[in-house]
Amino acid sequence: MKLSGAEIFIECLKREGVKTVFALPGGVVLKIFDMLHQQKDLEVILTRHEQGAGHMAEGYAKATGKAGVCLVTSGPGMTNVITALADAYMDSVPVVCFSGQVPTHLIGNDAFQEADNVGLSRPCTKYNFLVKDVNDLAATIKEAFYIATTGRPGPVLVDIPKDVSQNMAEFAYPNSVSIRGYNPTYDGNKWQIKQAADAIAKAKKPILYVGGGVVFSGASQELLELAEMTQIPVDMTLMGLGVFPGEHQLSLGMLGMHGTYQANMAMHYSDLVIAVGARFDDRVTGKVSEFCPHAKVIHIDIDPTSIRKNIHVDVPIVGDCKTVLRELNQILRATVNGDQKDLRKPWWDQIHQWRQAHPLTYQQEKDGPIKPQHVVKRLYELTRDRDPIVSTDVGQHQMWAAQYFKLAQPNRWLTSGGLGTMGFGFPAAMGAQAAFRDRLVLCIAGDGSVQMNMQEMATAVVSKLPVKIIILNNGFHGMVRQWQDLFYNGRYASSDLGTTPDFVKLAEAYGAVGLRANKVAMLDEVLKQALATEGPVIVDVPTYPYENCYPMIPAGGCNHEMILEDPPELKKKQSGAQKVTPEDKDTVLTA
């Protein structure tokens, strides 16, 4: 039976197990939307901006581990989704994006709403296709999902001209895919794995440095086994949070620019770094020439280009984290002997010293302004039993969330790491919520970044995605302000946002619920009220505006040279600082 391109599109998505499409229509994709409208298997979530659609697909993918799907129109639809594709590319998120294109005979003519979609997305996708013939559509979609979800995952774009979605073709969905230039390596080299096991057995001060690759590989069990068997401490990257239980005694928390003191010190003084699914990003390495000066490096990653890109590696293992860790564990089970706890005692004594010397800390006065860390901590304590999914935007609040929200399991943490995309958090949370309607999904946001993609509140209300947004509202682009305070002599160039908008009223304007906690004493109550509310909620929490995020490794600094608190001159300055929140006289903040 012959089907139109639009129907083939839908059939293919169904066969790929897609349940939800985040989409925004336009002229050249109308046929596809018309067909989507006439079926029941795929849910279409109409977003208010294509960037939102892209981030929702990312959130869906990060929470489920399956490909997220978005559908946008040509021209501006495509250019709007680019940020989300670039974000997905940096963070290896499997997203399949379908874009409309002008009819094939008009391509290259500067037609209305034409853009070179394949050209635009080339540097920010794992692969992209322009489908010129409806007969190629099914096979192309199959390949797109295959490429997006295998190897190191990533976004794939399929550009579908208007006539291709309208033309008819015989539908046959291929069972398998074979691409001669694409054969990801899953099994690690056995000899290298043996080398790794030997190195682990010899190491006195080993450390596991684990990232997002372990999440996508689904290797958290294997990681837990490895760490517990060998009593090796675990540092997580921002992308890896949750892959190892944050409260586990072997967890040192997050490492890197705003990582914990013990995580960074342990990294710096270790004699063996076991990197698993992490890529030695500059936010982790700091000054490359002085990164882990005493350590041998084992690097397990599915992407060969990640290995030796930034850091010299002694034992490179290209392969899937899960497969490799399993094999490594098998060898270690046979060779590890003696009580590992005794063996590691000197190393752990050292780590405990670091931990005690500089734990994560903040000072919350009873009647003083609310500290942002306190909000995150209370939110964590109030929701930990409900196993929430947590998304963040980008900035100070993101780092505090990473430090204080100690996730116990993977696929609960949605954040924009590589690209650092403000405006990611809210739509990503909605994407996760669309996948898990009954779960608690929190979005910890800043007042600056949440205003990027705030329009998606309309989507949340209409599509009934009851995300709870907690805004740590300091009236600043807080991280920018922090850098200005530390490195630009306190000149707040374009970082002061004032105190608009009134987020409570804004939520209400969209038909959502808005709440505000002005005082420490009412914080718990307001948070509980938000958690008990059915629909989407914004909780606006005006926080102390001059709080800085520590520890901090200045850009290009060494990992063991962290700034741990405000320098004295800054403290003096801030003690006289005032910032007034005019919408509510009760919320006047003084330090």
Partner: protein
């Protein structure tokens, strides 16, 4: 250090820009790039001349391999290889220079492939040094146009080891 990298790719539209985009996006050098279909028309062969230290070349090779349209990557510097480049040079030739131009052509085993009363168009192929040399010699005559193909290269076949192997066996 200069490296010649031989890349077998899918013969599809857009592949060249993927390869070129990889180099520009990651700040790698391209000194020359030539591309043409192989015996199998579904594939093309690229020869890329690039430069960089060991780490950069390793990244270039890995990043090329990562491209889905790339089927095979060989860093020819890891083996013995032969390379050639062709140049077509149009030279002004006043009456007095025409004989000199032909002499140079002769010395370099080049060919005159087009001729007018005031110009010769010369085709020459060889390694880059040879091309540079003939250009230098022709320059005083006045070069009107110069096009170069960029280098193409192929790995040398290993020389047969039959004789030495027999000896080995005999010794054992």
């Amino acid at each position: 250090m200069e490296h010649i990298i031989s890349v077998t790719v899918e013969n599809k539209f857009g592949v060249l820009s993927r390869v070129a985009g990889l180099f520009s996006g990651r700040g790698f050098n391209i000194e020359s790039l030539s591309v043409a279909p192989t015996l199998d028309p579904s594939m093309s062969q690229m020869t890329i001349v690039t430069s960089g230290d060991e780490r950069i070349i390793e990244q270039i090779v890995k990043q090329l391999n990562k491209l889905i349209d790339v089927i095979k990557v060989v860093d020819l510097n890891e083996t013995e290889f032969v390379s050639r480049e062709t140049a077509i040079i149009k030279v002004h030739t006043k009456d007095a220079d025409r004989a000199e131009a032909l002499r140079i052509v002769d010395i370099f085993r080049a060919n005159v492939i087009d001729s007018t009363p005031s110009t010769y168009t010369i085709e020459v192929s060889g390694d880059p040094k040879k091309i540079e040399a003939i250009i230098n010699l022709l320059q005083p005559l006045g070069i009107k146009d110069l096009v170069r193909t960029g280098r193409v290269a192929v790995a040398r076949e290993p020389i047969r080891q039959a004789v030495t192997q027999t000896k080995k066996v005999a010794r054992e």
